[in-house]
């Protein structure tokens, strides 16, 4: 299968929408066109990029409750892929499967397969520690260690046993996270003295210090002001040169501005075996960002990005 058709077929959606593209275009609201214009601004998506995460029919359950189900998608190398959707639709749940952070929640279980560069992440014998060394994570709330800025950067390289020059790696990581100029004079000060935006950039710097291939970000800007958010978005675009990034975001402008591919997830009501209504997340549409924001194929995507629900 060539890469291009893979990209198209990876969009696993129920095409229940009866609208034609023409209707979408006529209904476009100012928000849509503004977002679509922003989305077009980035460099083109490389269709030939290698598949990093290959999800096949993934369902994640908490106990018997499927928080998100039947997700099939392919996330490609050196692109920024956004997961958007209303609160509680399972974005965090899905993201935390990508580096087996879900293992920390005893009730969580994963069905289906998630392949990372061809390797099954949930095969028996896979060590989650090894997975997380390759796939880093930045969390919703900045969570620096209550230690010095320097110690925050050096923790990862120390525990992973990699060879490193401490001064060099501190400087390089902080420069990479656009934080060096602000903190170079106070590397031994506590990280807790930094502002929220600086703390989050420190967390990104810390994640890059262990040289992962992929970085997962769970709403990294939700606690930040617009200026700090802008700084993080610039940073993501720069990091894309070296890393594959998957980001959960609440903020549609952010997805439109900063991301190459966008997956729209929403909550659907389904009936379980006992006939009870169970709400669980479904992947509705996954495509290039400018398609999602300019000319989505599904009515629900259209409704969501134009602010009609969610």
């Amino acid at each position: 299968m060539d890469q291009q058709t893979a990209a198209a077929s990876s969009v696993d959606i129920d095409r229940t929408s009866t609208m034609t593209r023409g209707e979408h275009a006529r209904q476009s609201r100012p928000l849509d066109s503004e977002l679509a214009r922003q989305a077009g601004a980035g460099p083109a998506v490389r269709e030939d990029a290698e598949v990093v995460f290959d999800l096949d029919d993934v369902t994640v359950k908490y106990g018997s409750f499927p928080a998100i189900r039947d997700v099939t998608m392919q996330i490609r190398e050196r692109m920024i892929t956004a997961l958007i959707g209303p609160s509680g639709c399972g974005k965090t749940t899905l993201l935390r499967c990508f580096n087996r952070m879900n293992d920390l929640i005893p009730s969580a279980s994963v069905e289906g397969t998630i392949r990372y560069k061809g390797a099954d992440l949930y095969a028996s014998g896979v060590d989650p520690v090894e997975v997380r060394r390759r796939i880093g994570m930045v969390f919703q709330k900045p969570n620096p260690f209550p230690k010095s800025i320097r110690e925050n950067i050096l923790f990862g390289p120390r525990v992973t046993g990699m060879e490193f020059d401490a001064d060099e790696i501190v400087e390089r990581s902080l420069k990479g996270a656009a934080l060096w100029d602000e903190v170079s004079g106070k590397l031994d000060d506590s990280a807790l003295g930094l502002s929220g935006g600086q703390q989050q950039r420190l967390c990104i710097a810390r994640a890059t210090a262990v040289e992962p291939d992929t970085i997962l970000m769970d709403e990294p800007c939700s606690a930040l002001d617009p200026i700090a958010t802008g700084a993080i978005e610039d940073l993501m675009r720069a990091l894309r040169e070296d890393y594959t990034i998957v980001i959960v975001t609440h903020n549609m402008q952010q997805a439109a501005r900063a991301c190459d591919m966008t997956a729209f997830i929403t909550t659907e009501v389904a009936q379980d075996e006992q006939g009870h209504d169970r709400r669980s997340g479904r992947l509705i549409e996954f495509d290039r960002t400018e398609v999602i924001f300019g000319d989505p194929n599904d009515q629900r995507t259209e409704d969501y990005i134009s602010g009609r629900f969610g």
Partner: protein, 303 residues
């Protein structure tokens, strides 16, 4: 007759509404007074006890009390064996209970699967904290002195006191570990650290001030205990010093010596030497607490 509403009248009504109901001030003050009495009872009783002991014992504190061993004559009586015994016990009990207690707490809090066995252990750890200390003494005597044939030795005293305070240390350490935000565990694991690395390098250091506080309080209690070490065979007096590394040695301790003195028929022992011993014990405890508080502050500052 209807009151005519004028701006002035409205202002008066509004003013009245802001006044407290008549009895509120009285109730508040009454309650405050009750709390004051409660505090006073606790503080005054303690102060009276301490002052009484100080009046009796202080004139009797001199170098003899520290350099001499036990004696039949009040003027010649010294607490040397008790002081060295208590210091040795402090060190051994501190080490044993800290290592085992923090280890157990870390396992229960960070690693143990959430199953029936774990819940059983958890429930019983808390229950053990309420078992009378003399029961631990009997356990120490039965299990260590006789069954393991360790004799009436320093190590048996230390193990017995450690067992006595382990539940308290475990409960306190677990609370301290639980207070460390989960976000830090995720941060560590998310960077590719193993659970052991994350807990050892980030979580435990964060919890250490809390753990130390719990350990110090528990240790103070252990050091003042008489009953359990009496049962495992602490001596009223010896004519040699205890050192923490000679763990097979017989041992004495300050509370045991005080206990012995107050039973002696001579008034001087009861009224002068015993209070002097109590003062020495209290000073030792205060010293230990200050060292621990210093350590704790140093750790919380460096983190």
């Amino acid at each position: 007759m209807m009151a005519v509403s004028t701006p002035q009248r409205e202002a008066e009504v509004a003013q009245d509404a802001l006044h407290a109901p008549d009895d509120r001030g009285r109730r508040e003050r009454g309650f405050e007074f009750g709390l004051l009495i409660a505090t006073a009872v606790a503080v005054v009783v303690l102060a009276v006890l301490l002052i009484d002991i100080a009046i009796d014992g202080l004139p009797f504190i001199n170098s003899t009390r520290f350099t001499e061993y036990s004696s039949r004559f009040p003027e010649e009586f010294g607490f040397r064996s008790g002081i060295t015994g208590t210091l040795s016990l402090m060190i051994l009990v501190g080490l044993l209970s800290f290592v085992i207690g923090v280890g157990g707490a870390t396992y229960l809090e960070e690693f143990a699967p959430n199953n029936r066995f774990t819940r059983f252990v958890e429930a019983n750890t808390s229950n053990l904290a309420g078992v009378p200390s003399v029961v631990y003494g009997l356990l120490g005597a039965g299990v260590f002195v006789f069954f393991f044939s360790l004799g009436r030795s320093l190590i048996v005293g230390a193990i017995t006191l450690s067992l006595l305070i382990l539940p308290v240390i475990i409960v306190a350490s677990r609370e301290a570990l639980r207070a460390v935000p989960n976000a830090l565990r995720e941060a560590g694991l998310g960077l590719g650290a193993t659970p052991l690395q994350t807990i050892g390098r980030q979580i435990l250091p964060q919890a250490l001030p809390g753990i130390l506080t719990g350990t110090i309080l528990a240790l103070s209690r252990a050091i003042g205990e008489t009953a359990p070490i009496l049962v495992v065979g602490a001596l009223f007096s010896r004519r040699s010093d205890n050192v923490p590394w000679d763990i097979d040695d017989a041992f004495s301790a300050l509370p045991i010596q005080v206990f012995d003195l107050v039973k002696r028929p001579q008034a001087a022992f009861q009224e002068q030497v015993a209070p002097a011993g109590i003062i020495i014990l209290l000073v030792l405890l205060l010293l230990m607490n200050s060292i621990a508080i210093y350590l704790r502050n140093r750790y919380s500052r460096s983190s």
